[in-house]
Symmetry: C2
Subunit: 232 residues, 2 copies
DNA sequence: CCATCCATGTCGTTA
DNA sequence: TAACGACGTGGATGG
């Protein structure tokens, strides 16, 4: 990893064109050749960048320039397979250091949708007394339904689980319901939209279509899990 | 901006929990207090981060540790308003430097969806001979339709423009069409889904619903612009 | 401040 | 490889 603090001007030409006027910035060159251009504010997204796989070539400083310090006036060109380019014109370098980091062991996550689905599958009674699980990831022609259940009366219920319940989740469940209801062995199938948080517009659309909304409490589900663990 | 290369272990506790085992990484602390943890690979997204506004507090090295160099064993805790935390345990520092960058003049972009819409509005004949533009951003109760046009027969056409045409774009256009077709002054309204690239599933769904798909060529549209410019 | 929608989205999983 | 959906999505914009 190479860290360069430099006065620079940057142009990206690819899916769009973008220009950064000259200013002092951090240029971060990773071992795989990818380049990030960061300012001293904003968020984790760089002002400009090139993702790997890509290749950096450095054109020498302009002929007329004074060769003081580390290549004033140099031009870095980073190109990827698709021909997109990041062109960095460097006029002054304040800092330049390289570091050996090795391969990163990587991130361990917990608490995402897969885990929510797992927890709810083990506690379908959260959806209502007498609910039973038929299958997780019930396969259909247009993709898997998160949970297929049966209500106390024995009727099929398709459940779509999201961390954040928005309108496209309702649309997705609607497509599943349309399809499942064409199956005479399953029909009539009702729908439940389950999420940690459900946006008002999504709730309205779901209700309009006769889909029941259930707000999930991740901690309570996990707590129920702990309780069950303690009891048995 | 402060750049630190250090052997560190990182935990994020917030919307999810995530853990990074000990390894050598770049810690980037921006002027606004935000922190990025980068490895020497992957893309522009950090392994872990905290976005501003947030605050960094540094707990001193553990009592038993030898005070050599810059605080081995120190713990950095970065907290935001919502109470989410990034906890960085540092065991060895290889590099530590600070730099004054100043405010960045910012990015100038060209070629995003807004520009596509502008170009297509000026060249509605791309949709078919005899098409005319009624309005850009035609307002409805559920949001603006990108373009409202009339076909050669004078019938209304709603156009949804995307850079990448996916299924949710088709759903969006469908909702607009449902609404517009309730207006007796406008009905019947047909739909056109226009994008630089249209995914197969989106195309299938659109066709199923009687929505015509049009693939846009940004360069050709811009070229048509240039041609027009040269002719007049 | 809340809601919506775009993004050089990026990132994983699966067909 | 391409498509598809989730994301600690982030970020801008409009009500």
């Amino acid at each position: 990893m190479r860290l360069v603090i430099a006065e620079c001007e940057v142009d990206y030409v690819g899916r769009l064109t973008a220009h950064l006027p000259s200013a002092r910035r951090l240029l971060l060159i990773k071992a795989d050749g990818s380049v990030l251009v960061h300012s001293d504010g904003g968020s984790y997204k760089p002002l400009n960048w090139m993702s790997p796989p890509c290749w950096l070539t450095e054109e020498p400083a302009a002929a007329g320039s004074t060769a003081e310090g580390a290549d004033p006036g140099a031009l870095w060109v980073v190109t990827n397979k698709a021909g997109e380019q990041l062109r960095i014109r460097i006029t002054e370098i304040e800092h330049d250091s390289s570091h050996q980091l090795g391969v990163d062991p990587g991130l361990v996550k917990d608490g995402v949708e897969a885990h929510l689905q797992e927890l709810l599958a083990e506690h379908v009674e959260t959806l209502g007394i007498g609910f039973t699980l038929v299958r997780r990831e019930y396969m259909t022609a247009i993709g898997p339904v998160d949970l297929l259940c049966r209500d106390p009366a024995g009727a099929a219920v398709a459940v779509e689980i999201k961390r954040r319940g928005e309108i496209d989740g309702v649309e997705q469940l609607t497509r599943y319901l349309d399809l499942l209801n064409r199956d005479p062995l399953l029909s009539p199938v009702s729908g439940v939209f389950a999420a940690q948080q459900i946006k008002p517009q999504a709730r309205t659309l779901a209700t309009d279509r006769g889909i029941r909304c259930v707000t999930l409490d991740y901690d309570a589900l996990r707590g129920a899990d702990d309780t069950a663990f303690r009891l048995f």
